[in-house]
Symmetry: C2
Subunit: 461 residues, 2 copies
């Protein structure tokens, strides 16, 4: 594929040069170099004019002086120096360059940016940036994020690829994933996008075996028609979740001064997304929640939902939320009702939402979930598990995880404090998306229903 030309060099480089890496730990280049070393990446070379060693590693005064071929160069030097360094990269036949440096079109230096673009084109070098925080692929030891690890946690290796036009939004998301222990396959902040942009990234990630879900923060698109063409193709095999900022009039103006993108008409973008299967998130929370649900759960085959809860109030809230999401309450089969009746006390009523009441234990959850999962009228299960009650032991986590064998999507709401949070995370590590509010759980289920519907609609086309 011509489009993917050289993209692998960003994520699977054999050799890396960090331009601007010196002994000064305050310098961005130093931090990036250290990331590679600490990740166990072997062939990484610091480059700085005085050839000052970095972290005891021999440094080079120039790219040319490195006695090896270089796949990936990372530039973290002042903007004015970047065009010349790009020329060095061209001479050295570097395949890909990440330009971390800011100080280009975003501050009125379009001239410098145009030079970078020109060299990229004429020398066939792939470029990410400038004005970005670059790329991360922990499975290969690649990490150009120059933000201190004590401030920005690095998430574990997983299946979600995040791409972000904004470095700040991107780094907050990565940090958040680190805290929640959500696995990331790749992270890319593409900044001013002189070459690689959201379109080439989505295309590349669609073929990346490590990536199951593509999540994106965009402020504008570099080519709406092309984005839609690519998305239509990709979304049939991998979900694309997208938050597109600059929806409002003032938001669009803010976008223009932030990334210089044209935000465009939001309504047009919205209907384009629907047509080509992009799942649009309208809040940062949803972006995150949708990606998690799509990563761990199968899509729903329909919109008929069973709600199971040990707290009636949360059952009511979840029911309200279902209606808002276009989900309907499944009508249980008679057989389901009979079976559930056997496992719940006389004062609980075997209907949907299924309130198995405050003294429910893990066994009662098992009865409810298994029978709901077996019911052909049920397409997905929203399970509210309140851990404040004494009879509910941690075993319920296994009970819910085991119910995944029925092949229907399950999401959980567990609202509360520290004891609850421990269990919420146990659920998540067992592959069950678990949310601190019923509304978020239902919206995540809504996403699985919408994507399921899109896949069915486009099947065979």
């Amino acid at each position: 594929m011509k489009k993917d030309r050289g993209m692998d060099a960003f994520f699977k480089p054999r050799t890396v040069a960090v331009l601007g890496a010196s002994s000064n730990p305050k310098k961005i280049g130093h931090v990036i170099f250290r990331n590679f070393v600490e990740n166990g990446f072997k062939n990484v070379y610091p480059v700085n004019p005085k050839a000052e060693p970095a972290m005891g590693h021999k440094a080079y005064p120039s790219l040319a002086s490195i006695p090896k071929k270089i796949d990936l160069a990372i530039i973290a030097t002042p903007a004015e120096t970047v065009p010349e360094l790009m020329e060095d990269c061209a001479k050295k036949n570097v395949k890909a360059v990440v330009v971390i440096s800011g100080g280009f079109s975003e501050v009125g230096r379009k001239d410098l940016e145009d030079k970078v673009k020109e060299i990229s084109k004429k020398s066939n070098i792939r470029v990410i940036g400038p004005n970005c925080i670059g790329v991360m692929d922990k499975s290969r030891g690649v990490d150009t994020m120059f933000l201190p690890t004590y401030r920005l946690a690095r998430p574990p290796i997983g299946n979600i690829a995040f791409l972000s036009q904004s470095g700040a939004v991107g780094s907050a998301i990565v940090d958040w994933c680190g805290k929640e222990m959500f696995g990331i396959s790749k992270f890319i902040s593409y900044g001013n996008a002189v070459d690689v942009n959201e379109i080439s990234l989505i295309e590349y990630l669609s073929k990346d075996r490590d990536t199951k879900v593509i999540a994106a923060y965009l402020e504008g698109t570099h080519n709406g028609r092309e984005l839609m063409r690519v998305a239509r193709k990709v979304s049939r095999k991998k979900p694309i979740v997208m938050i597109k900022a600059g929806r409002s009039e003032n938001g669009a103006k803010a976008v223009a001064s932030h990334t210089g993108s044209l935000a465009g008409s939001d309504q047009i973008f919205d209907s384009a997304c629907r047509q080509c299967g992009i799942i649009r998130a309208y809040s940062t929370e949803d972006l995150f929640d949708y990606a998690q649900a799509l990563d761990t759960q199968p899509v729903a085959k329909g919109n008929r939902i069973a709600i199971i809860t040990n707290g009636g109030g949360f059952g009511v809230i979840a029911t309200d939320s279902c209606e808002e999401e276009g989900l309907v309450l499944a009508k249980f089969e008679d057989k389901t009702i009979e079976e559930v009746k056997k496992g719940i006390p006389w004062y609980a009523v075997p209907k949907n939402p299924l309130d198995i009441v405050g003294d429910a234990d893990a066994a009662r959850y098992r009865t409810a979930i298994e029978n709901a999962a077996k019911d052909p009228n049920v397409d997905g299960i929203v399970c509210v598990v309140l851990f404040q009650t004494a009879p509910l032991e941690s075993e319920v986590v296994d009970v819910i995880a085991q119910a995944m064998e029925y092949g229907k999507p399950i999401v959980v709401c567990s609202a509360g404090g520290d004891y609850t949070e421990v269990h919420r995370k146990m659920l998540e590590r067992s592959g069950i998306p678990a949310f601190p509010t019923p509304e978020r759980a239902v919206r995540a289920m809504g996403c699985l229903v919408k994507y399921g519907r899109y896949l069915q609609k486009t099947k065979g086309r």
Copy 2:
């Protein structure tokens, strides 16, 4: 006030009897008795038929045998025994009773519930419950919540009173407050509400000096007209934030089988809320966020908002959210722009949203926030603080807290992982509501604008 007759006995009892407290730590009565003892409450008496001591405290075989007057009795025995125990309370001239026990109208035993109601009326005893988790006022050592403290954290003493028709929703909220360290003045789960209900509670809390904000979870109201009359009066001096579940058709049905309330038309309820100043939350997250904002921040005098951020993308998202909330971007005065210019680098643009860019430190935040706060065109400040960047030291927390002296509302968004969370909590403990997403921060500001508008509209009326 006739309406408040005896209500103090729930929250400020001098003497308490726990009916059903025994030596068995698995019994609800035991847990409740222990709460009082552990809170240092002196005059609490366990009562059980065999006079088994509880936690080494002398127990009594009946209420009558306690050689003291009893202000508050807590009943945690099977439903069938409750009417008789209520009669005992009447004979003993107990002022108030919390009936924790379930097994009444919610399971078809309206007969038992009617008896409790009848005794309450004829003997002038105030009753909370049955089928509830009761009351908590930590400042007086009162806590009838029978959920284990290791599962359900108790929040610190503060200004927000929570009342909940659902015990499960209530306990999840209390637990959540415990984790977030939000201060609660009083918590009340009122269950089947044979006597005390949402209306009497709102009226009582309006006069409670410890309570600044009233937050409520309702599934229905016991008297819509009366609720509105009381709310109209109360909301002029204290904000009432309310989540009303059963909004959808199926949600209303779920309500009927959960608490037996009539959910009623949601549109009518909605316009009634607007008329009488109830701030309606449409999600559990909002209920919580609104209460926190109203507790710590002044209301906004208008809807002109300044957005300050060290990450452009979050500035864009916040701008979008403002439009959704009916907030407008403030137009800075020339003087503000001049002053801000002095404190930001050349590559940052002094306009709203004010992106002070990724290398912002605490001093730059000070310039931005102080000047925005002084600008007469600004009614409130939404401040995005991303802690992932190296130059931003913890001092920014003090900078933001100090800006409260200008008397304008400030809310913060800090998105990220553990390092961020530590600082988000530092902000909250300094009295600044700080949220993990920009959308939530803006919605909280929206609430301060809406309530401010209501206060202005009703002033002098």
